[in-house]
Amino acid sequence: MSIRAILADILLALAVVIVLASSIGILVMRDAYQKLHYVTPAALVAPFIVGLAVLAQSGLTLDTAETGLALVFVVIAGPFLSHATIRAARIREKGDWRSGAGLVHGSRNGSAEDRP
């Protein structure tokens, strides 16, 4: 077994551990706000490590470039999706994402009638 294969296996094991831990965290945590913290390792850190593993295994090839492209899309989309999801959760809960907006319209819970 070459040093490249060993390095790739180590990186893959690390990525799998991160994904498993994130997945269990998503299951265990209480609400969407807490669960969202555990998406980040699976959506940002693990793809980067998987990309490194493919690079270690194959070197600089077309396959590695396509892998990098796919994982760059995942890494870029992660923070945007987290922001959009947390915004949606807050709007669902309070009626508006801005601080105190639910109170302005007379209801802390921000029912559909209270929304601007």
Binding site: A5, A8, D9, L12, A13, A15, V16, V19, L20, S22, S23, I24, I26, L27, D31, A32, K35, L36, Y38, V39, A42, A43, A46, P47, V50, A53, V54, Q57, S58, L62, D63, E66, T67, L69, A70, L71, F73, V74, I76, A77, G78, F80, L81, S82, A84, T85, R87, A88, A89, I91, R92, A112, R115
Partner: protein, 83 residues
């Protein structure tokens, strides 16, 4: 079966807890779990393509990664007010 295929299988197993949240949790928690599953599935497709040495299949995770972004935003937008 090499390390990449084993890692892909392990990551697919890791989607089971997220799947439980999608099926049994509340709606917003389900969206969060869905986003995690999408990210994991992109990695699984990359790992399977590398594990089986099929160059043509590396385009699938690229397409899926683009769709992941759009679908996540659509779900988040609908969850704000309509669902």
């Amino acid at each position: 079966m090499n390390g990449f295929v084993i890692a892909a299988i392990a990551m697919l197993i890791a989607t089971i807890p997220c799947g439980i949240v999608v099926c049994r949790g509340e709606a917003m928690a389900g969206v969060v779990a869905y986003e995690a599953i999408s990210s994991i599935v992109v990695m699984v497709l990359v790992l399977l393509s590398e594990g089986f040495r099929r160059s043509g299949e590396f385009e699938l995770p690229v397409v899926f990664a683009v769709l992941l972004f759009g679908s996540g935003l659509v779900f988040a937008r609908f969850m704000e007010r309509w669902l």
